[in-house]
Symmetry: C2
Subunit: 300 residues, 2 copies
């Protein structure tokens, strides 16, 4: 079986590394020729928790047409790149099953408007930090949870082959469930940590941070009350405790001046709540604050 992966960022490299180790033939599609030639020459590298390095040989191309030869495709670019990839797939005549791995929920509607027959979505709970164009550091073991959105589930079964203690693969029946649960937790942790410049654990241990954190939970839980995917307060607090010393992705982006994923994590949830006639005042305030600081890197 052949799998292609569009995008060789932290998540693309991490998945490619574990899939290749499971004996699956992996082809990366990347945009930059330097990255292609580096990966072609040296393979991809995963730094494990024990600081050992796992290097895998993979194919790599910058030509979308090469994806026609693979059985399944993983789209592992950020949300802002999804529309471009979908357009290129259409142009190149790609119609393989596709697994989408993006943060947030904004890509879901986008993907459902296409006519690709077999679509699945996944959430990733691994800690993964991109070190360079071919190297990812595996900073925490989490789950890859996959849910088939439409089409034939059988096409996606090969991911189970890569299941291991270091790379657990789980399945869920409802794609919206896993994406909403993940984005809910992201909404709880990312904006507050980015605005207050605190690590995840402080949302629980600092009384002033925790007051805001609890107020945000009440607002969100109230808006989405009764939803199957709604995590309890303790579920979300446990995520903060388990990642206490981590910087959230939005905080990291905020400090380095990289664009934060405001639209797909925060704006999409506000809009989702609006369709249910709920107004998220606190989250909207956080959204406005994030937009005000986005890309500045904390500089005056």
């Amino acid at each position: 079986m052949k799998i292609s992966i569009v995008g060789a960022g932290s998540i693309g490299l991490l998945l490619g590394s574990f899939l290749a180790e499971a004996g699956i033939d992996v082809t990366f599609l990347v945009m930059r020729k330097e990255q292609a030639s580096l990966i072609r020459k040296k393979g991809i590298c995963r730094i494990n928790a024990d600081r050992t390095e796992s290097v895998s040989t993979v194919h790599v191309t910058t030509d979308m047409k090469q994806l026609l030869k693979t059985d399944i495709c993983i789209v592992a670019v950020k949300y802002t790149g999804v529309q471009r990839v979908l357009d290129q797939f259409k142009q190149a005549g790609v119609h393989t099953p596709i697994l989408f791995i993006q943060n947030g929920i904004a890509h879901m509607d986008l993907v459902y408007t296409t006519d690709f027959p077999d679509i699945a979505f996944a959430t990733v709970e691994h800690g993964a930090l991109r070190i360079d164009d071919r190297t990812v550091s595996h900073n925490g073991i989490g789950r890859l949870t996959i849910a088939v959105g439409r089409g034939n589930a059988k096409h996606f079964e090969l991911f189970s082959r890569a299941h291991s203690d270091a790379f657990p693969v789980h399945w869920h029946a409802d794609a919206e469930h896993i994406l909403m649960r993940k984005v809910f937790i992201n909404c709880m942790i990312n904006p507050l940590t980015a605005i207050l410049k605190v690590k995840n654990g402080e949302l629980i241990t600092d009384p002033h941070c925790n007051k805001l954190f609890k107020a945000l939970y009440v607002e969100l839980a109230d808006a989405f009350t009764g939803e199957q995917w709604l995590p309890s307060y303790e579920n979300v607090a446990d995520v903060c405790r388990n990642t206490a010393r981590n910087q959230s992705s939005m905080l990291s982006d905020c400090l380095t001046g990289c664009p934060m994923e405001i639209e797909t994590i925060v704006t999409a949830v506000i809009q989702k709540a609006e369709t249910m006639d709920a107004e998220l005042l606190l989250l909207s305030t956080l959204e406005a604050m994030l937009l005000a600081v986005d890309g500045k890197g904390g500089k005056l």
Copy 2:
């Protein structure tokens, strides 16, 4: 006439400098002996807009009893120091007229519970930056506005002697009016600039900052609708425009890790609104955020 000034911070030094230049006999009461001996030896220094230095000779003491010999006293310590000064006045038997110059409104109730017969309050709109123990930089000309709270207004008239183009002295009939107007503007500018790490002008020019700034105005103006002292949106926006390149005091404190004046500027206004049955949700969110970052200097 003899005036004593308790506290030789930026505002104390600025006022002392202009009063001494007007021929008034000025005595500073300070806590640290090093500051006392430095001021005694070298006088106090004001750096003017044209970079010239104005040095004045003043008296200085660390002994509260010396204030018994002065005709009027200015309390120019931060709000958090007012209670201590009042206790010391009582112990030393000081009962001169007192002018209070603090940010916010929290000191007003505190002062009215005492039995000092002659009390006045002032707001300062000058830009003043403390350079060292004896030097203040006069960064912007504003007004000293004085309102007598109770007692005999005649006692305070000597301040008019210091009136000049560089140091305009104005009078107002209502102390609460001038303090509330000032604290309203502080509430509009300080918390947002500190949380978003922006200069005053960006509250108007950056569309995302301005959205929050306008929402805050609507919330505050709604709570205090009908009050004589309520500034218009354009009044507040003009303050931001006129001080566009300045860092607000809260932003400066936030960046350096100094305690911000949250209680007297923000909490006091929230409590004032509560007495009028108005809930300030956005300002309360900002208060919680300020408390969460207070004293950290933006460090993780």
